[in-house]
């Protein structure tokens, strides 16, 4: 049953990375979209795409925390207490990002919209970096069992952590660009499709390069992790992830954005599973095995039963939400973010008819 609960945790991380991570990645594009006028269209697209889904996407984060503290309480207590700096940073980023995004739509002047947008966008970069750095700390074996026994800074300021943190930011940006391209295609905005597609290709290639370069960093920084990722089942999943990544890039190149969503999800899931294999049977390397970390069988069974029952309600609801979104039933009128603060001019694309 411990394995089944670990699988739940992997589903949680993957779902958060693919769904929540993409919403965070959209923040990066918002940040780098350029000046008020030039960036208005991309920002408007970000606002319109994220609006209906970001809250549901975000819930995977608390879901993951709950799975960890219920099924693997000592593991949870150890990582939260040692990694308090990056996790507190992520928590602050989550507040700032969420509130700034939620109220940006109520801004009355372009100045307000820009201030809230800047807050939304910078915190969107902070969150995945902090979470990635925390994962890097766990993967490189820097979290001991105990109450804040690890190094408060060196645990997450090291080559592996920085590699995973940067990879998380770039992967999120890549996913976001793929989704934005798909949404823009549906909205009939060819210029935004092209802009998003080139961003996706750029971020995808960069993510691949970082992944390869990062392995070199891991080789010198966390040899056991490297060995795990380059042999046996770990290697199989890393290669599978690389393959999915390449296929996805091809799908983006050929403008099949919907299929690319699923390909990217598979690539992320394979990396997480590969990591689990790389440090099997340990959750905290050399400190705590999966079975030592697992709660009693009564708790694991109760958790699996309740998640199973919950899934019966959750999955149809998620399907309904994403179907409505992908059919465009919840779409708002597209509006460049800067447009409502200035008079329309002749070269403004009216958006969808």
């Amino acid at each position: 049953m411990a394995e089944a609960c670990l699988a739940l945790a992997i589903v949680g991380i993957t779902a958060y990375a693919v769904l929540g991570g993409a919403d965070l990645g959209a923040g990066l594009w918002d940040l780098t979209a350029g000046g008020v006028r030039r960036g208005g269209r991309v920002r408007g697209m970000v606002q319109r795409s994220m609006g209906p889904v970001w809250e549901a996407n975000h819930v995977w984060m608390p879901f993951e925390l709950v799975i960890l503290w219920t099924a693997f309480p000592v593991f949870f207590g150890s990582i939260m207490s040692t990694l308090y700096v990056p996790l507190f940073g992520a928590a602050l980023g989550i507040i700032l990002r969420g509130v700034a995004f939620a109220v940006r739509g109520q801004a009355a002047t372009i100045k307000e919209a820009r201030a809230l947008g800047a807050l939304f966008a910078t915190s969107s970069v902070l969150v995945p970096f902090c979470l990635g750095a925390a994962l890097g700390a766990i993967a490189s074996g820097r979290v001991p069992v105990g109450n804040a026994l690890g190094a408060p800074f060196a645990s997450w300021l090291n080559p592996t952590s920085i590699f995973v943190g940067v990879l998380a930011v770039v992967t999120g940006a890549y996913l976001a660009a793929v989704y934005l391209a798909g949404d823009a295609l549906r909205a009939g905005l060819p210029d935004v499709v092209d802009a998003s597609r080139s961003r996706a290709l750029g971020a995808g290639v960069l993510a691949g390069a970082i992944a390869v370069g990062g392995l070199v960093a891991v080789l010198s920084d966390a040899r056991p992790l490297y060995d795990g990722l380059t042999s046996g089942d770990g290697l199989a999943f890393v290669l599978a992830s690389a393959t999915f990544g390449l296929v996805t890039l091809g799908l983006v190149w050929t403008r099949r954005f919907e299929a690319a969503r699923w390909g990217s999800a598979a690539a992320v899931a394979c990396v997480v599973i590969g990591w689990a294999f790389a440090q099997s049977p340990d959750l905290l390397r050399g400190e705590l095995t999966l079975h030592q970390a697992a709660a009693g069988n009564a708790t694991l069974a109760a958790l699996l039963i309740s998640v199973g029952a919950g899934a019966l309600v959750l999955i149809p609801s998620l399907v309904l939400l994403y179907r409505l979104v992908l059919r465009g039933d919840l779409d708002q009128q597209f509006e460049p973010l800067d447009q409502r603060f200035r008079p329309l001019t002749a070269d403004d694309d009216p958006g969808e008819p």
Binding site: P62, A302, L303, L330
Partner: protein, 466 residues
């Protein structure tokens, strides 16, 4: 009464747990407690809107569907925007709480996560459902058929109910820990379903659920009562006032009865906590109730109005019953500071009584004369009732949570053993306080702007500017 006390046999032995991660020694424990308290104080009023507001929005939309009156539709649509913004803020402030459980209390989580975690798992699904349907509902205005649209709001109400239920279950468990055995200071034989349905949670839950309807009802009514006082007395403002005020007016008197139930349960399960509410230093037969005043460390309450036998009557429904005092437990097992708990308790009861009176007066006027009260004083009172209900809500949580001290798991684990050994707690507190203060200002400012737009912009078309 005695059988309640006897259930957790380990308690009688006063066994204590120091935790699965080993000991804790944190000089800044108070900062950790204050940070947790601050985070709850921000989040709990928001959850009231998650619990209670959707039902009011749906009610307004239902009135539109029944009567075809566009006023109700404009109101429901405007409210749904507010609901979405407050839900979004609630989503992130709630996430912070789940981080803080681990960041601040890792030893508590490592030791007992497997006992109470199930409730949070179930709460997680409620949270998902609420997030999904709130998006469908708000973005589905004028996109889905009116009937379908109304139906997509129903899961929001249900999830608000179930989500808060499971969270309160955990708090009930912390106050009445069951569902596990302690063997040599270690948790074993965990029975998660038993922990989920602990005996303390029913009264806490009903109390909080009613409180949510009071807070959301009085706060929303306060906005329209203010408009009313400023002379804006059209159908829109009238509907915006009557719907939430009616809800709050019906719930507020009922809350008095629930409060009595809660008080008696505390008297049975946590007599030391009850003694702290009242500042009762010695175990007393036929104990009096003190209103106001200040608890003195050498015992007794100074400067209070004393009503003989009333505490015994309220706590045990018997004027001569014996009420356990603070002296029944060792000094290091008493909650402190007593005056914090006592003042919070008195404020909650005082405000709750006032709000019940407001509700009864409104209901009686409506019943007898089929109209709103006419006096400006009544509308001023409703304007005040909004913020006052939030004060009462926070005071209620201070009462029960500070009254639980020094325990994080009642009579099993001390807060000082649960806390993190990490540094930087004062920095974290100041950072969160600054972030919450500035974000709170931004949200209030933007909601006020939303409210200042004329209602006719809401009449048709998809939801703009979200």
């Amino acid at each position: 009464m005695s059988d309640y006390v006897a259930i957790p046999a380990f308690m009688a032995a006063a066994a204590e747990v120091s935790g699965g991660l080993g000991g804790a020694s944190q000089p800044d424990l108070l900062w950790a407690r204050e940070l947790q308290a601050l985070s709850f104080a921000v989040h709990i009023p928001l959850t009231c809107f998650g619990i209670a507001f959707p039902a009011m929005v749906l009610f307004a939309e239902g009135l539109w569907l029944r009567t075809g009156d566009e006023t109700y539709r404009a109101l429901a649509k405007r409210w749904s925007k507010v609901m979405l913004i407050l839900f979004a803020v609630g989503v992130v402030t709630g996430t912070i709480l789940s981080f803080e459980l681990g960041l601040l209390w890792p030893n508590f989580m490592a030791t007992f996560g497997e006992v109470f975690g199930l409730a949070f798992g179930l709460e997680g699904f409620s949270f998902f459902i609420e997030a999904i349907f709130i998006a469908i509902y708000v973005y589905g205005w004028d996109r889905l058929s009116p009937r379908t649209h109304l139906l997509t709001g129903v899961p929001i109400v249900v999830a608000g109910f179930s989500g808060s239920l499971f969270v309160i279950s955990v708090n009930g468990w912390m106050n009445h820990p069951v569902g596990f055995d302690l063997v040599n200071g270690a948790v074993s034989n965990v029975r998660p379903w038993e922990a989920l349905f602990n005996e303390n949670f029913w009264h806490e839950y009903v109390h909080m659920y009613f409180a949510a309807y009071m807070v959301a009802g009085f706060l929303v009514a306060a906005v329209y009562a203010r408009a009313w006082l400023h002379g804006r007395r059209g159908r829109y403002v009238r509907a915006g006032l009557v719907i939430p005020l009616t809800v709050a007016a019906l719930v507020a008197p009922a809350q008095v009865i629930v409060g009595d139930w809660a008080g008696r349960t505390v008297a049975e399960l946590q007599p030391t906590k009850l003694a702290t509410f009242e500042g009762l230093s010695e175990t007393t037969k036929g104990a009096p109730l003190h209103i106001g005043g200040w608890y003195q460390d050498d015992g007794g309450v100074k400067g209070a109005i004393e009503i003989p036998h009333l505490l015994s009557l309220l706590a045990h429904h018997d004027p001569n019953a014996t009420v356990q005092g603070l002296d029944a437990v060792a000094p290091d097992e008493r909650p402190g500071p007593v005056n914090t708990v006592r003042l919070a308790f008195q404020a909650m009861v005082g405000i709750g009584t006032l709000l019940a009176a407001v509700g009864l007066y409104y209901a009686a006027t409506w019943w007898r004369k089929r109209r709103l009260p006419r006096g400006a004083w009544f509308f001023r009172l409703v304007v005040a009732a909004g913020p006052l209900s939030v004060v009462a809500l926070i005071c209620g949580w201070v009462t029960t949570e500070v009254g639980r001290q020094p325990w994080i798991v009642y009579e099993v684990m001390r807060v000082e053993d649960a806390v993190t050994n990490a540094g930087g707690l004062p920095v974290a507190f100041v950072a969160v306080a600054l972030v919450y203060a500035s974000l709170g200002a931004i949200v209030v400012w933007l909601l006020r702007r939303l409210a200042s737009r004329p209602p006719d912009v809401e009449v048709s078309g998809t939801v703009e500017g979200m």
